[in-house]
Structures are given as C-alpha cells and as structure tokens.
Symmetry: C2
C-alpha cells in the first residue's frame, strides 16, 4: 500500500518531531510496518478529533483505528489488553464534494499518516510504545518523554488507551470494571 | 448487541417506510441479522453523507461499512463482488464534547440503525436486496421499487455498490477496469 505525503502532513510531522524529546538512545526499539492491518478488527473512526480548544485546521481528517484480532478477543473476555497488543491509527483526508455526494464527508484514497501504539511488556519501558510510519519501512519508537505517553497515561480509560472512544469496547470495560483510576477521576470531575 | 432506537431514528424509518413501495408479495426474501459483522472487513466510515443538496440535519451520524471477508478477498483479486456478498452499514451518532475531546467528532456507543445490502443471484430480483434491521430479528427485503435500488444501480461505481467511497477498493476497481458504464458517465459529466 502506498502512503501519500502531501506538504501538509509533512508540516505536521516536522512540528511533531520538534515537540518530541530529540535525543534517542542507540538501542531505540524498532517496529515493523503492520501491512495487513486492514484485515484486523476495526474499533472506530473519528473526524478531526482534538483534545485542545480552538485548534481548528483548514483540512479534515478521519482517523480509523484497528487492533490485532488476538488482542480484541482477549479484551472482549477480560476488558484488558494482553501483551503484544497492536493498535493502528490510519489517517485519511475527508472530502465533501465527489461523485454524487453533496453533504457530510467521505474518506479519500490516500493514507496521510499511520501510527502504531504497541504493548510489549519486556521491550518497552512503561510497556507501551508509539511509532509513526512515513512509509512501509520499520519505524523507531517515539521517545518515552513525548507528550503522547503522558496524555495516554493520564486520560486513557483502560491501560494507556482511549477505550472511552471505542464504542464496542467501552461497555465491556465498564462491565468488567477495568477503567483506570485517572479516567474515573476525569469523569467524576466533569459531573 | 443492543440497538438503540431514539425517536429521531424512528422518525427517519417511518419516513423511509412511507417512501417505499408499500405492497409486498407474500414471498418477500428474508435475511438473518449478521451478528458477527464487527469481525468482518471494514471498508470505510463517512460522516453525515448525503446525496442531496441542503438536507442538513440537527444531529450527526457516522456510517461504518463492513463486508464479509470472503467477498473482500474476491474483490481484491477481481474488482468484482461474488455471489453471497454482504455489505453492512452501521450508523452511530457523532459527538464532540466527551471525555477530553474538544473538537471534531467521535462515535457514540449505541447503534442507531443497521442496514444490509446483500447479493444473491438466485434469490433476489436484480441479484441484490436491501434490508433494514431495527433489532436482531430477521428482516424482510425492502421492495425492489424503492429509490435505493435505482440510485445504487445508476450511480454505484461497481455492480450497484458505492465503491467510489471505499478507499481501499476504488483503486482496485480502477486497475481491473470494473467501473460501471453509468459511473464512468457520471464522472465524465463532472469534468
């Protein structure tokens, strides 16, 4: 599969790179491009989701989230992610006018960005690591000091992941009582 | 899985029912609720898609489209749908404020509507039939005179289906040259 990298996505990545801790150790974990993720289990799709106020963009982006089937089965049974869970977030542009569509938005052909959030209890400090792919080559882990780790750790509903936005999994975690203490605190603060 | 039917969805269905040809023959084909469709192949998700100008709604709806894995494999190889293809469109409400999200939209837990578009060359006149599910009971086919059949037949990029909106399949159909004559006519008229 080809990944299209328009100028805009490059700008986003350059900005993200600047925000990350720039020093990487020599033994940074690598992760292979998960080429069959479109055959995995779909968790959800969001549009232009943003956790900050007032950060509107002049383009629209869908994010489709997939998980490896083995991890999905374990989550359905336990409300928890097993070791070797791999979540993939695929970003595609949103378009309104095209073919006979006149309102709302559909997804464009080219993938703009691909990100992986993987659990490996032995390999990754904190058990989880993020990877961003610009093409199908293996990627190096984003350093643990990056903001994404802190945000997922503080606000993810289950084990560093945003299960609160995965409609088939949120009720399972609720039933199994596996929501994190920090997520429950977030929720009670909003009431 | 439970299906939530708020008043709004009921109103939509009642409106749809009025638009359909109201007379059904005694031997209307039935279709079982495809309870495992969330384990199938995800094709795309759209938001508030509409083929008419100016029909904005006061709510937001994502539509997630899935297909049975056997049919997906055949399409990847041939650019065509085999007999017994089943496409599922699952509608979920879109929400902006929730947890730490502040912009854009994420998908809500409850399924608002579920529709099936199935191919059965022997059972269905015109090979394809539509079914709308209000719960997990089997549904009767929407009559062939309904507008959905005519629109899919005239504007679907491949064999009565909107492959032009399925980002992983559109390039395959293009490569295999399986676009319908009517779709190619639509596209050339827009240039």
């Amino acid at each position: 599969m080809s990944i299209h990298f328009p100028k805009l996505a490059c700008a986003v990545l350059i900005f993200a790179a600047l925000c990350y801790v720039p020093v990487q150790a020599a033994d940074v974990p690598q992760f292979d491009y998960p080429s069959d993720y479109r055959n995995w289990i779909f968790l959800t799709s969001g549009l232009d989701m943003n956790y900050s106020e007032g950060m509107g963009a002049d383009h629209h982006m869908f994010d489709n989230v997939f998980v490896n089937p083995e991890a999905y089965k374990v989550f359905q049974a336990t409300g928890r992610w097993p070791d070797k869970t791999v979540l993939v977030k695929e970003m595609r542009g949103g378009q309104t006018k095209g073919s006979i569509n006149r309102n709302g938005m559909f997804q464009q052909v080219g993938v703009m960005e691909l990100e992986v959030h993987a659990k490996d209890e032995k390999r990754f400090p904190g058990q989880w690591a993020f990877f961003a792919f610009g093409d199908t080559k293996p990627a190096a882990a984003i350093p643990q000091g990056a903001q994404c780790y802190a945000c997922h750790g503080s606000h993810g509903a289950v084990d560093n992941t945003f299960v609160q936005f995965y409609p088939t999994l949120k009720p399972i975690a609720e039933g199994k009582k596996t929501f994190s203490a920090s997520y429950l605190k977030d929720e009670s603060a909003q009431k």
